[in-house]
């Protein structure tokens, strides 16, 4: 084996580091100017697609790791989903045949989403993501239950003493 690049391959050993701060600054400035011009030409549809891709990636990242904090991920993702696609939340509520009040309660954590709500959300997302990117039908359910698991595990100090009093193990298992 040799690392001499007599066998030329553009993907074996790409060094893309800036050689100096000056080079970085000059390149970054030129790139930003060019990008800002191009950004002005982004259509509303392209922006929505990017936001929905971002949402999907963030949901997938959330599912993959245990997160113990007080954030309400399901409702945050739902809020982002609805607000990205619709100019008014009531339009989304109408599209999935629920009242705007119920939607508002779920988004604001005043109501747990029922099974039917998540099923409707799943079907709605399939239609929305059809021409954007792969979006697994399990995703909303995974987010919901992953959050439940994380919340339950992280709040044991609060619920365990009360619940544990009502749990006995009267049988014996030989060691």
């Amino acid at each position: 084996m040799t690392n001499k690049k007599n066998i030329k391959d553009s993907e074996f050993g790409l060094d893309s580091r800036y050689k100096s701060k000056e080079e970085y600054k000059s390149e970054a400035t030129a790139l930003m100017e060019a990008r800002l011009k191009r950004m002005k030409n982004l259509s509303k549809d392209q922006i929505i697609r990017a936001k929905l891709m971002q949402l999907k990636l963030n949901m997938e990242a959330f599912i993959k790791q245990p997160i113990y904090n007080n954030r309400n991920y399901f409702s945050e993702f739902l809020e982002s989903y609805v607000d990205t696609i619709y100019s008014k939340r009531s339009f989304f509520a109408k599209d999935i045949s629920i009242t705007p009040a119920k939607l508002s309660q779920v988004i604001n954590n005043h109501r747990e989403p029922r099974d039917e709500f998540i099923m409707k959300l799943m079907i709605h997302s399939e239609k929305v993501y059809e021409n954007i990117c792969e979006f697994h039908k399990k995703t909303w359910y995974q987010v919901y239950f992953h959050e439940k698991i994380c919340d339950t595990m992280s709040s044991q100090e609060e619920w365990r003493p009360k619940i544990e009093r009502h749990v006995k193990f009267s049988e014996s298992i030989e060691k």
Partner: protein
């Protein structure tokens, strides 16, 4: 994400994850071109076939939040996966698409990934990944980033 065994066309699922500190011992210059230990202060990701620990490709990234940009510092496929006799195809593509996913996850419609290759290999990245040249820097932005992700991000 999938790589393809060039000789028989078999497809293998891959996993891209952060390089562990123990991995650096095995990352020699002969197989991975660079001294990757120098990159330990940056985000370095490895690509492996699912259920294998053999590293087939590496990428080092720098997030630049005030520019909504992720810059690819170093990229390599492993020695046996370069050139016409490569064993697996799409290793670099998957790693670049992974950088694109990080950028879009962080910056949505403002996202950008960039690299600054030597002039002689810039054409490869322009032709293969539709990168845009500005000065010496190549970049992909929305909507190109989304196309790149869709090209590689499936099982």
């Amino acid at each position: 994400m999938i790589i393809v065994e060039t000789s028989i066309g078999n497809r293998h699922k891959v996993k891209i994850s952060l390089v562990d500190s123990v991995d650096y011992k095995a990352l020699n210059k002969e197989r991975y071109f660079f001294d990757w230990k120098e990159e330990q202060n940056f985000e370095v990701y490895k690509l492996c076939i699912v259920d294998s620990s053999d590293i087939l490709g590496l990428i080092s990234l720098e997030r630049i939040p005030n520019e909504w940009r992720v810059h690819i510092r170093l990229l390599t496929v492993s020695f046996e996966n370069q050139g016409k006799k490569k064993i697996y195809d799409n290793i670099a593509g998957n790693l670049i698409a992974y950088a694109a996913k990080i950028a879009v996850a962080d910056y949505a419609e403002l996202a950008c990934i960039s690299l600054r290759p030597k002039t002689e290999i810039a054409k490869h990245y322009i032709d293969k990944y539709n990168m845009i040249l500005t000065g010496l820097t190549l970049s992909i932005e929305v909507p190109g980033l989304l196309n790149l992700i869709n090209l590689f991000d499936h099982d």
